[in-house]
Subunit: 378 residues, 2 copies
């Protein structure tokens, strides 16, 4: 094993791309939705459940895993794949988004960020070098460079400074990544993150500098943090156009199903979002015909309709809306799991269907219809 990460394009439809990248934990067909497993599991789901949704890669959050159980514990377990018994590919973020969200309890210097744990107030320090050490301990197949994530309401000056620092930290991340040992014998591919807010000139500058560093893949950070939907689409499309054709592009933290479909149309390959699991725990369900709230009394006596008649997940093939409504209203934990399972299945398979449409070059027409359907009320 080692140096197996590579990306191939299998088809295009407009700017949308169908591809595959190879990791030592299996191939990942793109575009791909990556369920979020913040603390070492996708919330409420076993790895068997996650596999059943068709997911081939999931996330872990460096910030959360650093605080608990600690990356040394995960390293001792043989890495996160073994710790959580996930046989597919893994990606860890850099913790940047989380620590920069802890506004009042972070101290930012050129060296790095000092912050307090949201769990117990203990003090911690993240630098590019420290984050690379943690991400090596965790052992994901794809790891992210440590970046500065300014607030979406920040001034141009603040955004510019964040771009410059992100570039310096990208160099330091790269250097540390190459210096540090790979603990588990398989490759970890380090991706760079393009910052620059909603400013095209900064995005262009940041992308140009990162491309020169020759990362095996690139993420677009600093979106889905309060800008308009149109800005999200415009900046995604613009930034994607600046990135190498032969490397995967990852739009971090996006989003609603219709956002993901539009971003696929803009040339993005990889997505993660907590919406399918978080919304499920709040009774909100995604379907091919739009959103529904399972608490709604309209479902009380609906014994014959699954959450989504078009869905093949365990929840939809075994349970009625009436039963799921009952479980949810009765406070049964099983409800959270069955809704999470469905929502993840929906996201993963919506993106897989987008891939099929790209390959047979019917993506654009399909996307227009589908965006309309999934964004409405079921």
């Amino acid at each position: 094993m080692g140096n197996t990460f590579s990306f191939e394009l299998h088809g295009r439809s407009g700017d949308a791309r169908a591809g595959v990248f190879y990791t030592d934990h299996g191939p990942v067909e793109t575009p791909v939705f990556m369920p979020v497993g913040t603390q070492g599991c996708v919330k409420t789901l076993s790895p068997h459940d996650v596999s059943q949704t068709g997911a081939s890669i999931i996330l872990g959050n460096t910030y959360h895993l650093h605080l608990r159980p600690g990356s040394e514990v995960i390293r001792s377990a043989g890495g996160l794949h073994r710790f959580e018994n996930w046989g597919g590919a893994l990606l860890t973020d850099s913790g940047g988004f989380q620590v920069f969200s802890l506004k009042d309890i972070s101290r930012i210097t050129e060296e790095g960020v000092e912050f307090s744990s949201h769990l117990d107030g203990s003090r911690h320090f993240f630098s590019p070098e420290k984050v690379m050490e943690i991400e090596h301990n965790i052992g994901a197949d794809i790891i992210m460079a440590f970046d500065e994530c300014p607030s979406s309401t920040a001034s141009r000056e603040v955004i510019y400074a964040a771009v410059e620092r992100t570039l310096r930290w990208a160099e330091r991340s790269l250097e540390a990544h190459h210096r540090l040992p790979l603990h588990f014998g398989y490759e970890q591919a380090l991706f760079g993150i393009v910052q620059g807010g909603i400013h095209r000139d900064y995005r262009a500058y940041c992308a140009e500098k990162l491309v020169a560093m020759d990362f095996p893949g690139y993420a677009i950070g600093g979106l889905a943090v309060g800008e308009s939907t149109q800005q999200l689409y415009d900046i995604s499309r613009y930034t994607a156009s600046l990135l190498p054709v032969d490397k995967p592009r990852y739009l971090m933290g996006v989003g609603k199903p219709e956002n993901i479909l539009e971003a696929i149309g803009a040339g993005i390959d990889m997505f993660d979002c907590v919406m399918p699991t978080r919304n499920a725990r709040n009774s909100s369900v995604f379907t091919s015909q739009g959103r529904l709230n399972i608490k709604n009394s309209a479902h009380r006596l609906d014994f014959s309709t699954p959450l989504d008649p078009a869905c093949t997940c365990y929840t939809c093939t075994h349970f009625s809306r009436a039963y799921l409504r009952h479980l949810y209203k009765a406070g049964e934990i099983l409800a959270l799991r069955l809704l999470s399972l469905h929502n993840i299945h929906f996201y993963v398979n919506l993106v897989a269907e987008a891939r099929r449409r790209i390959v047979d070059n019917s993506f654009l027409e399909w996307k227009e219809e589908t965006v309309h359907a999934v964004a409405g009320k079921a």
Copy 2:
């Protein structure tokens, strides 16, 4: 279908019995542990999970299902089997234990019990006739007569009055059961419940009268409510000896693994208890080598030991104690499910092993060793 409920004995070892009873939802080998599915699911577990533990019959609670979603809703769904998608056998209790536990908000007359919902304070009335109507709406394979469950600290006089009322209500339950339609085409077998507290003369009197009514099975109620363990064993054994050899005997609400093994030795065939699921949600795990608490720091770096090395459940074949401890401490719902799955698997398979030991007549020796092992600290 219809009139298929029957019980056969396959072996004995001392007073312990191995048998089988037949329902329209499959045979149930006894002794048997029946997981509790209070509100229409075994807490945290899907029916697939429950099947994987080896369980062939589960409970529903009439009190809880009457309040939410309401038995008419379940009847409209086609019965509880279809509502919750459980293909095995089902048993419902009568709600007696629950409504008599609502001490301050119940009014008891010869006609029945008026009580307030613990959910919203709404007033409800349970009589033998009403409970039979509800249990017919729910549609379990085995249903329980409505009985009076006095407090374990009640006087002899109160216990005696409860026995007499339980007998009158048993007659009324039987009459209503025979009068009411079976909504789903399959048989529902009505069991009588022997009350009498820790008083042998009352148990003998109650058993004699109920046996004369010729129920297809008998439960022993009013135990596991505060008496000593020795009293539990003595009264179980004594009451079992009063019941027909050719009918199943069900000790309601018992208990710890060692209690169940002793009660099997006393001639009991059926058990239910919330301990495996409730304890799991409180981090307490049952194993073949005794109890353990998964939060214990001793498990922090134990990446190679499952909860119980002798166990074949999904949890034990996929996850380490260190990982489960992490999930539990991190507040992940998945922890509650993985521990519940293991505990139910442990209970179901401990009782299944007892059955094998009865059939090959090695039960008594095995029970002595096993009671000692399971009651200790792992």
